[in-house]
Symmetry: C5
Subunit: 358 residues, 5 copies
Amino acid sequence: MHKQSSNLRKKRKGTKNDLLIDEYVYTGDWKEETHVKLIQYNESTFSVHDLKVQDDPKNYFHKNEVNWVHISGLSDTALIVKMGESLGLHAPDIQDIFTSQHIAKIEPYDDKTILVINTFYFNEAKELQQEHIYMVLGEDYVFSFQESVLPLFDNVVQAIGKNVAKVRSRSADYLFFLLANNVLGNYIDVLATLEDNIEIMEEVVVGGDIPNDFGKRIQANRRDNLQLKKSILPLKDDFKNLLHNENRLIRDENKVYLNDLEDRLLFIIQSIEICRESVDALLDLYFSNNDLRMNEIMKRLTVVATIFIPLTFVVGVWGMNFKFMPELEWKYGYIMAWALMAAIVVFVWWYIKKNRWN
Amino acid sequence: MHKQSSNLRKKRKGTKNDLLIDEYVYTGDWKEETHVKLIQYNESTFSVHDLKVQDDPKNYFHKNEVNWVHISGLSDTALIVKMGESLGLHAPDIQDIFTSQHIAKIEPYDDKTILVINTFYFNEAKELQQEHIYMVLGEDYVFSFQESVLPLFDNVVQAIGKNVAKVRSRSADYLFFLLANNVLGNYIDVLATLEDNIEIMEEVVVGGDIPNDFGKRIQANRRDNLQLKKSILPLKDDFKNLLHNENRLIRDENKVYLNDLEDRLLFIIQSIEICRESVDALLDLYFSNNDLRMNEIMKRLTVVATIFIPLTFVVGVWGMNFKFMPELEWKYGYIMAWALMAAIVVFVWWYIKKNRWN
Amino acid sequence: MHKQSSNLRKKRKGTKNDLLIDEYVYTGDWKEETHVKLIQYNESTFSVHDLKVQDDPKNYFHKNEVNWVHISGLSDTALIVKMGESLGLHAPDIQDIFTSQHIAKIEPYDDKTILVINTFYFNEAKELQQEHIYMVLGEDYVFSFQESVLPLFDNVVQAIGKNVAKVRSRSADYLFFLLANNVLGNYIDVLATLEDNIEIMEEVVVGGDIPNDFGKRIQANRRDNLQLKKSILPLKDDFKNLLHNENRLIRDENKVYLNDLEDRLLFIIQSIEICRESVDALLDLYFSNNDLRMNEIMKRLTVVATIFIPLTFVVGVWGMNFKFMPELEWKYGYIMAWALMAAIVVFVWWYIKKNRWN
Amino acid sequence: MHKQSSNLRKKRKGTKNDLLIDEYVYTGDWKEETHVKLIQYNESTFSVHDLKVQDDPKNYFHKNEVNWVHISGLSDTALIVKMGESLGLHAPDIQDIFTSQHIAKIEPYDDKTILVINTFYFNEAKELQQEHIYMVLGEDYVFSFQESVLPLFDNVVQAIGKNVAKVRSRSADYLFFLLANNVLGNYIDVLATLEDNIEIMEEVVVGGDIPNDFGKRIQANRRDNLQLKKSILPLKDDFKNLLHNENRLIRDENKVYLNDLEDRLLFIIQSIEICRESVDALLDLYFSNNDLRMNEIMKRLTVVATIFIPLTFVVGVWGMNFKFMPELEWKYGYIMAWALMAAIVVFVWWYIKKNRWN
Amino acid sequence: MHKQSSNLRKKRKGTKNDLLIDEYVYTGDWKEETHVKLIQYNESTFSVHDLKVQDDPKNYFHKNEVNWVHISGLSDTALIVKMGESLGLHAPDIQDIFTSQHIAKIEPYDDKTILVINTFYFNEAKELQQEHIYMVLGEDYVFSFQESVLPLFDNVVQAIGKNVAKVRSRSADYLFFLLANNVLGNYIDVLATLEDNIEIMEEVVVGGDIPNDFGKRIQANRRDNLQLKKSILPLKDDFKNLLHNENRLIRDENKVYLNDLEDRLLFIIQSIEICRESVDALLDLYFSNNDLRMNEIMKRLTVVATIFIPLTFVVGVWGMNFKFMPELEWKYGYIMAWALMAAIVVFVWWYIKKNRWN
């Protein structure tokens, strides 16, 4: 909750009205320096360059190649604004690059298509980490912006280098799908962890040895699930639109990959839903186990009390100091007392068993 | 609840049938005098005037400028009705200006577009305050009505003065978006506070030191959330319609800002939803912690009772006054009694541990 | 529940199959005699007549005036059937006039539009009362049927007499809207009462002095809410259709009033929803307070037991009658005993405080 | 649950794959012999015949009359298959006649329209009984199949005989609506009973004398409600389609009756929904009353324990056998003891009252 | 949970990005060798061949026959990839054959239609087993892939051999429906078992002898239900599309069978929904029974305590050692004590009965 709440706060950091932007402000937590990498390839060529931050990457573009500009770290606001303007982005779109808590969306313009999405992973403290990804697909280029400098897309770079699955013979839209697929893959990793945790918690509940922070752990699981859901759900309709509407940037031969991407998206949404219902079921199990345990405790107390309270009364009786209590004088009075008490125990026990109190 | 219930009551204050309006009645709580401010600007000019309340602002309009009339305080009914009629509003629309508990909506007419929305903020008593905002967008003008005289739009006036983000070179529809954006910004502020409160309450629950008014605080949070939801949800479809339908008041070059506004709206609706689910999760946590605490209490009672009740019985036995109780005569009887009691304690303790009663 | 259940039963009273109607049967509870009132007006004229029940009101219609026939009390079945047939209603539509438990709907025919709706008010016993209203809008007339003879529409008659808001210069469709608006106004009154009750109950829960009939009162509130909901919800789509489809009975100049009516309908539906969520929140508050109170009770018991049970054991020990109990002989034995007991109390109290049992 | 579960099992009885039908199998529980009745009528004629089971009813059809074939009891599979084939039904449609657990639907073919629906009634053991009804509407005929030989449609036969509501001058589609209306009427009867039961249970809960089978009765009510819902809900869209699409079997003059039928369907669906919410509310009431009762019980125990446990300690103190216990020697020691104990009782009672423990 | 979670993990086994496929990887648990069976038939011929795994089945196809290739066991990746390529499948589609945790879907291409579905059955350990089925329908062929070598479709092979229901005179699309119908049949079997289990659990709850693993069993039932739901729900829209859109592989004469298949699908979805609501009802029953049982236990404890605690106090009184306790000296003191205690018991019992504590 903390993170999200503070993000809501941060969203407001720059200005009270985000149409009144004098100065673009990055609203996230990462303090990374901005790195710009240019990856260019076609069937026969492949090159990776680190660009100097003051350069406009478009100056380095090659014709007949796919030009992928990957920017990691958003601290160099000026540079990124320059890039955005060189791409022909509107002011609100440029601000979206810096808004780490933005609603996910696909925005298809005539000459480019924008994807805003969050990626998730667990950091070393096993807390769910969210990172804002902004991607622009153009005719022969892809721009991808990420907040951190973590190697989110290194496997894609390597695959291009090795020309895995003939990726180098495909156009920019395919690269765009590859990157989106990578992000969606992270969702599945996170969900797998959430499901593992639910399974572990289930065993804990059934085992009965509930740790004190159990409620907190359920809470955390639900919150993480909620974050995934809010980050992915808005994309459902946008993907459908992208798939079914005309979009001149997406080639017909690559629609099958977009289709595959949509399958993955639906699979994730479904898994989130199931994960959520599993937590609800876990909670019911937990509550019912608490109830059962309570019943057990009270049963024990009742049995102990029902046996000993009458006995204590009985011994109290013969502890009275009346002068004339004939049984106290009997030789076998004491034994008789024990016999009576034994009889009481037997009777109570039989009564309890008969009525299934325990 | 109080406020809202009384508003429902107030909605009925004027007349039993609100189509039978002889006299317009302001149904809100504010008693502020009516102030009328006229802000006019284009790329090169900028002026702010306080109008006398008997004037029709339209007489002061400048061609080739954006004319923004801001009315704060609705007590001067006659004046506002005159303005409404001069704008060509229908009687029900004029009554809507005065109806502080109206459903939010966008009403697109041919020559103007009306936005009815509520704004929210926390007052000094940290209670959620709601205020009814009524805005009319025309060809070259914007009228905005607010109930109080709080400076809700002063930042916009200042920004126009400073020509931030070249706002003065844009048309009236952009101003309309700016004002709506300001209102939506207030929603995000309120939501951030609600989320902070949930976080604080969560820590309280986990900490275990539940204050007596905790239930009330959860209740208040849910109620505030509900109020936000009901005030914003009806706008969802209206925004979509405004964005996708022809509307000659909204210029194509400004649609990107309307789009950005819709993103913000969706973000708010999503945040309300998440805030709500967080409260539900908090409640579950709270209930489960209550259960756990109860279990703890009962366990302790059971342990104390299970240990001492048999002991009390035992000492009662040897407190009996039978004549023939041989063990009472033994030299080591008393020590034996202590030994027996120690044995009972050990056995019961072992039994409890073995069966994990505590 | 009683009323509704009996209405379901009553719905079946007349015949097993309601398409096999030999004889029309009024299925409601009111036993009122049938009164027929004819209100006629245009800009310059206004008259109110009580018609004899055997007359067909259409014979008295004036051209160029709005003719409003208001029938209160449905016991004179024959007359009402005759009116229905004279209006050209189909047999099922005529039966609907008499079916007090009918689903709400708007039925637009070519030459008339039918509105079936329930109105609600609290009777003297503060129980929610439901009444079935049936209205027919034609070219220059409105028929309105109500079950009781309560003055539901008297304010409208008076307003027409006084020509409030120039009502007399408007056409029959405007009158139709006026009457519907009156009915919707009753919903708002009822909702305001329900919300007041929720507020009162909330204070009761927080105060902690729960009366015995509290559960019943929550139940009643939910049931009333449910009845409002089922009576108004089916109209949502019908209103939208009426507003957006061609209907030659509704003049373009009056569409703005229909629009206003739809706003009111949406406001009511929203308020019902909120009222319902408020009751749910109230229930959660109630349950959690019960839990808390239970915890309190058990804590007290546990504290009392934990302090006194060991003490009782201790005094039992020295109540034993062993011959050789050296401490009994000590001069300061008794004081020592008190000292020990005081020590036990102090220790237990400290332990309880330390572990926050209370 | 039993019935339904076994029906699921039975649905699989015939063959593992129901497209691989060698032999049609009736999957229901009724063992009734097959009876075939032919009812024929027009404005001037009316006749009812029991057909021999080997005949094809179509041979007996009269032109210019409505021919209604009613088959009760499905044990004579061969005959019914022959009829189905003579009607031109496809193999899966014929199998549907025999599938007592089929989803409800309306299937409009070019030359006939099929309605699959379940009817419900309470049997003598007051258990909800479900029966599968299959109806075929053709140009001038209606076939109706029912599982049992119960007189489900006898009132319709009688009404045709008496020409109630001029039924004999209407076409086959009207008869089709009549039969469907009869079935829907049974739903309303069942719902009225369910609502009565809820009302009774509500009084039981409020009265506090909960019988042991109360949980079971709520469960049964929910299950019956669920069965109604699943049987009627799938028809909602089908009715809408039938009403709004072209269907040459349904005459325009009879559409108003179809419309009435749809009203009834919507009324039933709404009543099911409300019935369900009433059960939920009842459950909440029940749970909250359980909680309250528990609180009551614990309060009493706590009061009893809090008063007597200290007293028992006190008397234990003076039951100790220390040599030097000066107060034991006092003349007024015993009275003082009683006075002390009375003081303790008064104090505890005051404390309890002050803190509102009971 | 375990299975599913591990499947999510496994889905990621092959590669981090499933568009970057160098090598196809089977992600399921089965280790079966790949078997290829070719079934060919028309009205007059029928043959079954086991193909060698290196052959391309298309080489063996006969014209004018339906060619059904059934592959069981997916370990021979190379072969299956070769088949997929020979069928003209895209790389992502081929990967789907190997992805045992794929979302269910129908993918209609121009010259073939793909169905991805899961089948379910209970294994010997009575655990729900899921198996991924992949089917391709072409002009005159059907390919079906299954993970295990279990005889899922043997009844279809036999039925073709015996020409049941003239299956051999029908085209490939009918075979496709047959196989799908078989899979759906398995859903109904599983649901019948789940419903039986719910019924058994319900009797257990009502009987009151709750086994310790009861919570786990409810949990398992919900999880199984969830798995069925997620596997079948995505097909609902796809079936509707297949039925209503043009598809040249599906002959008009066979649409009635597709329709029947859709009925079955809807029936399954409905049964899943009902099964789920039944579990919820069961849980409520379970919770309420727990509450009742708790109340019972506490009542007993309270009765025992309320009777004996005052008695124990009384005997304690006369166990005190005050010198001057006149009643101790009375001859009938002891009898009087018993009389008093009897009176206390009678009074307490009467009080308890009067106030209905038990």
